[in-house]
Symmetry: C2
Subunit: 450 residues, 2 copies
């Protein structure tokens, strides 16, 4: 029986059998207590054993990390927990020894990264990775219930591979074979790992009206920060017949859905993180679900920043990007999530819909209190001539993206989309501050273990 079941129905005075791993074994002369977990729920079950067990002395000596099977009676407890398991029989399945790195004490997150293959056994990472799983399901549920088609964007791609400094190259060429040409490579050309599935997603949006990606993306950026990883998961929805206001509605509804879903499904995990990782986490998340997001333009943001009585490290300026300190000020100013839209075109991507002013594009970033930018989206340029003109201005290779441009030639429609960095979202949901702690096996410069 799974430990989860013990907490879902009343088993008082019933015989049960559970399997699990020892998180703690506190022994006295004639009895002892084991905290047993099996990972099916956040809670452990307290096992009480005494010297009536024939193998009492062996059980006493069992070390943390050992796996056991316990048969016994669920009884009311005099301790903190509502009930405990009075053991009639305890069988050792697999012993652990004194070299086991996970002990019932506080380990630093840095140490736990070194034993990343064991850290899911700790309470902290049971909470984090359960939430990662549940949040994934929230995403699929939201989009599938709303009739989006889940689109698996290609991982290996030949787009943007010429001279893209931040792309990993994918190859089967022997490095010592200096005579090999690019055309000798596996795909007959230079290929790399995708940085985004958006362009391909647009081909599905203009066939199914609504689609979303949810898959890994890559960035070969040499950044060693708390929020950069070389491999991370992205969600990229794309919607036809939808303008910038429409896509903001969807972003807001989607984010609230995910947060509420996690609050509903992971109360124990959130409670734990709220207590030990980020005080006020639960309140923060509940507040987001119940707030109305503000929508203002980039220009209005600069107006507000300029009026603020603050000595900025970076002076806010029309036509320029905004800094971390500005994001923070704006979300605190409104005390709720803020959509900043209509950004200067020169700091945004080529595919974004150009506004009539000739200076801005219909881009929108969602800034959330406590985390900063969480979602980036835009209406896409659906006008063939304008898109081609913009690509020329930026000296882009049209040939390579002919298929993408052609979407504007064959039944072009107003359409919009956005991207959520899944790990950024998890940092927000868990209160953990380092991206290395929300990915099972993080990949960062000079680090590719397990």
């Amino acid at each position: 029986m799974e430990i989860k079941e013990l907490y879902e129905k009343n088993y008082i005075n019933k015989e049960v059998e559970v399997n699990g791993w020892i998180r703690n074994n506190r022994k006295q002369a004639h009895f002892g207590f084991i905290d047993l977990y099996d990972g099916t729920c956040f809670k452990t079950i307290q096992i009480v054993y005494d010297d009536k067990l024939s193998n009492f002395n062996d059980i006493r000596k069992l070390l943390v990390g050992s796996s056991i099977q316990v048969e016994g009676l669920i009884v009311e407890s005099s301790g903190k927990q509502a009930f405990e398991l009075k053991a009639n029989k305890i069988t050792l399945l697999g012993k652990s020894d004194e070299t086991y790195p996970i002990q019932p004490k506080r380990h630093t997150k840095e140490f736990l990264r070194e034993v990343a293959y064991l850290r899911p056994r700790t309470a902290l990472f049971q909470a984090i990775f359960r939430i990662r799983s549940v949040a994934s399901m929230a995403i699929h549920t939201y989009f599938q219930e709303n009739n989006y088609v889940y689109f698996h964007a290609p991982i290996i791609t030949a787009n943007d591979c010429e001279g893209a400094g931040e792309m990993f190259r994918v190859t089967t060429l022997d490095r010592n074979n200096t005579k090999a040409k690019d055309s000798d490579d596996f795909f007959g050309k230079v290929t790399g790992l995708t940085v985004s599935g958006q362009l391909e997603a647009e081909t599905f949006a203009t066939a199914f009206s609504k689609c979303y990606t949810f898959g890994p993306t890559f960035r070969a950026e040499n950044s060693n920060t708390k929020i950069h990883a070389s491999e991370f998961w992205m969600i990229e929805p794309e919607v036809a017949f939808c303008d910038l206001d429409g896509i903001m509605d969807i972003e807001e509804e989607c984010l609230k859905f995910i947060v509420k879903y996690v609050l509903d499904k992971c109360p124990d995990e959130i409670e734990f993180l709220n207590k030990f990782v980020e005080k006020g986490l639960k309140e923060k998340l509940e507040k987001l679900v119940n707030s109305n997001f503000v929508r203002i333009t980039h220009k209005e943001v600069i107006d507000i920043l300029k009026k603020a009585d603050i000595k900025w490290d970076f002076l806010p300026e029309y036509g320029e990007d905004i800094a971390k300190e500005h994001e923070k000020y704006i979300t605190e100013y409104f005390n709720c999530p803020v959509f900043i839209k209509d950004w200067p075109k020169d700091i945004k991507a080529f595919y974004m819909k150009q506004n009539e002013d000739g200076e801005t594009v219909r881009a929108v970033d969602l800034e959330v209190p406590g985390v900063g930018e969480l979602i980036g989206g835009s209406q896409r340029e659906e006008d063939y001539e304008k898109l081609v003109q913009r690509m020329k201005e930026l000296n882009m290779n049209q040939e390579e993206l002919n298929w993408y441009i052609n979407l504007r030639k064959y039944g072009s429609v107003v359409h919009s989309g956005f991207g959520i960095g899944f790990e950024r979202l998890l940092i927000y949901l868990t209160g953990v501050d380092n991206i290395r702690d929300v990915i099972p096996y993080p990949r960062t410069p000079n680090n590719c273990e397990f």
Copy 2:
């Protein structure tokens, strides 16, 4: 309004507005019919327009692929369909032209692969890619409802990278820099694209009891067949406290769940495929849901094959692999899906649990009528000594997999898992016979377009 909605409620005599793309435009002198789709459901809606529309002559000339907005009245139809949309107003959103490759006629699948970015607009690929999406959701639903943790296995990995011929290498080294050492690479070592997330999944199964992966995997195999792709998606569940019989139960339940889910959610798509792609598809799928899977050993299979009055291309032999023709015979012999278990250890992977006979391992392949092997699984070797011994026999690098071996040192438990090739499953579900047609943008040797 989405076209899907028109088929979910009764809109007869109601005014509606829809957006979509023209699949066909049949015009007479004073009226015309447009088949309009928006991809929100498999069905199109028939638009009836006549010369009372001020732009009648423009509408008549609209080419296939154009996007339009239609306002009008839903009325009962005298044609095949139950109702149609009598247009009061038709607005052109984006025109198409005579170069549009998708015309209302039969295109070969080979041609459609060349315009893969437009093929989701055809009825065939609307069916296939909707089923791909719905089957994905079936998988997540099955595992999440059964409390599995969704585990994102790493894509870039350093495991198995030395000399593994079928792995893509991932690098940021400049090919012209012949002096660069492996340690100069982005991760400080040789890395490649994962071929399986199983080993890492075992670390999660021994923390959460139950987990599953669902993500892309890669094989740099130079095979140009109908069933090989260089990039494909795999589902790899892993379950602690579960033996070979237990994992067969799960495989059977899981597969039936997925097939039933798709039958329930995609009746129109299955009907279409049943009619135009594989006669008997629907019956095949319904039969699987209602069948009991047979379980026999590899040795028993060879017994049956040897007794068969057939001239084999490959002679069946104890201790050896079985061929396609054998798989076919066995599934026809039993006329239902067959689990073949207890395989010769020399043709199976190092991590599989060794049977007491010293010759076989607790591996199981699921053979399904009409498609062959659909799922491969095994109980894993949980005995530290036996695992290490087997790795030595196979001259494997223990150092590199120390973390994996250590799972047998710290609370080892009986555990099992399996892998489903998602595209193989889709070939089965859709009746389509080429893997290139169930992946949005397939990657195969010398082919990496879009």
